[in-house]
Symmetry: C2
Subunit: 197 residues, 2 copies
C-alpha cells in the first residue's frame, strides 16, 4: 500500500528499539498518530535535536551534548575518586541514587572471551591514562556481579594494583529485599560480609 509506506517504515524502525517488538511498535505508532501534537511532533523534534547534538564524552564515555560531559567539567564533583561502570545506563543509575560525588569512567562493556572483547575494545587504556593525569586516589569498581563483570574488575584491579585505593560495591541483601526470594549466592555474600550492629 503505497500511501501508508511511511507509517509502515515507522513501525519497522520502532520495532528495532529494545523492549519493543512488531506488535508493540504498531501500538506505539497508532498511539503517536492519535497524539500528534502532544507526542508525535515533540518526539520528532527532540529526536532530531538529540541526533544532531548527542555525543560521547571524550574523557569518560558518558553520553551528553558536549565534547566533555557535565560531570567531567563540574567543579562540584570530587576529583580524586573515579567510579568505573560498564555502561552509560549504569552511570545514570548511580547518579539517580545521588550517593557518589566523584567522577565516572564508562568502559563501554565488559571483557568477554566469548564475544572477543579485550581491553582494547573497551575504554580501559583511557582509564589507565586518567589515573596519573587526574591524580585519582580511589577507583571504585561498580561493575555487574556477573562472570564478565567480575573478570573485568579483576583485570582492572591487576592493572592498577599499588597505584590507587581499589574498592568495589558491597554485595548483600537489596534494600527492601525478602530473604525468601534471594538466590543462594547473594545470601552467602551477605552472610560473609555481615556487619556489627
Amino acid at each position: 500500500m503505497s500511501s501508508t509506506q511511511d507509517i509502515d517504515a515507522l513501525i519497522e524502525l520502532m520495532a528495532k528499539l529494545p523492549g519493543l517488538g512488531p506488535r508493540s511498535a504498531r501500538r506505539a505508532v497508532l498511539h503517536l498518530i492519535r497524539k500528534r501534537s502532544l507526542l508525535l511532533m515533540p518526539l520528532a523534534d527532540t529526536l532530531r535535536t538529540v541526533a544532531e547534538t548527542a555525543r560521547e564524552c571524550l574523557n569518560c564515555g558518558n553520553v551528553g551534548t558536549t565534547d566533555i560531559c557535565d560531570i567531567c567539567t563540574s567543579e562540584k564533583r570530587a576529583t580524586g575518586e573515579l567510579c568505573v561502570v560498564s555502561d552509560v545506563a549504569d552511570l545514570w543509575a548511580m547518579e539517580r541514587s545521588g550517593v557518589f560525588k566523584g567522577r565516572y569512567h564508562v568502559l563501554g562493556g565488559t571483557l568477554s572471551a566469548l564475544d572477543a572483547i579485550g581491553p582494547e575494545e573497551l575504554r580501559i587504556p583511557r582509564l589507565l591514562d586518567r589515573i596519573p593525569s587526574e591524580n585519582i586516589t580511589e577507583v571504585i569498581l561498580a561493575l555487574s556481579a556477573t562472570i564478565d563483570g567480575l573478570t573485568t574488575a579483576h583485570y582492572i584491579a591487576d592493572q592498577l594494583e599499588g597505584q590507587v585505593r581499589l574498592t568495589s560495591l558491597a554485595q548483600g541483601v537489596p534494600v527492601g529485599g525478602e530473604l525468601d526470594y534471594l538466590d543462594d549466592g547473594t545470601i552467602t555474600a551477605a552472610m560473609r560480609a555481615r556487619t556489627t550492629l
Copy 2:
C-alpha cells in the same frame, strides 16, 4: 544538568509510549544514541514525515496519508461487504490475515456506559450513512468478544436489522490453541458451534 536536557526530554517522551516505562525508555534512548545513523536519524526523519502526512480516512477511519485511504479507493476491493472493527489495530490485524477482500469501517472504540462513550462518540452515524450510499449487502461485525464489544455489536445489529445481512466472526478454538489452556467460555462456544467433519 543543562547539556543533557534534550536527552532527558527524549527519555520523558519515549516513556509516554505504550509498552515503554521510564527504565525501558532510557534503554531505548541509549540504544538510539549508539545507532545514530542506522536508527536515530531515520527514526527522526520518518516521525517528521508521518507527523506531517498521517491522517484518518474521512470515509472509514483507517489511518493513512491521504484523505480517503487506499482500501476505500482501491478498485480491487469488494464493494458490497463492510467489516466493522473498533480500532485501526484490528483493521491491520484483519489485513495481515489477508482473508477479507471488502472494505472496512473503524468505529474508533466501543460503546461504554462506564466511560460515557455513546454512538455519537464513535463513527456509528457515519456507518449507518454508508450502508445505503455504498450499496452494502453484508456487514461483518469483527469486534472483540468483550462485554463492551458485544454491547457495541448488539447496538449496531439493532440499527441495521432488515437492511443488510449481518454476520460476526466465529468463536472457537484458536488455530494452534491447546484445549488445556483455553478458558471455559471459549470451550463452551466452540462446542456449541461445532462443525461436521
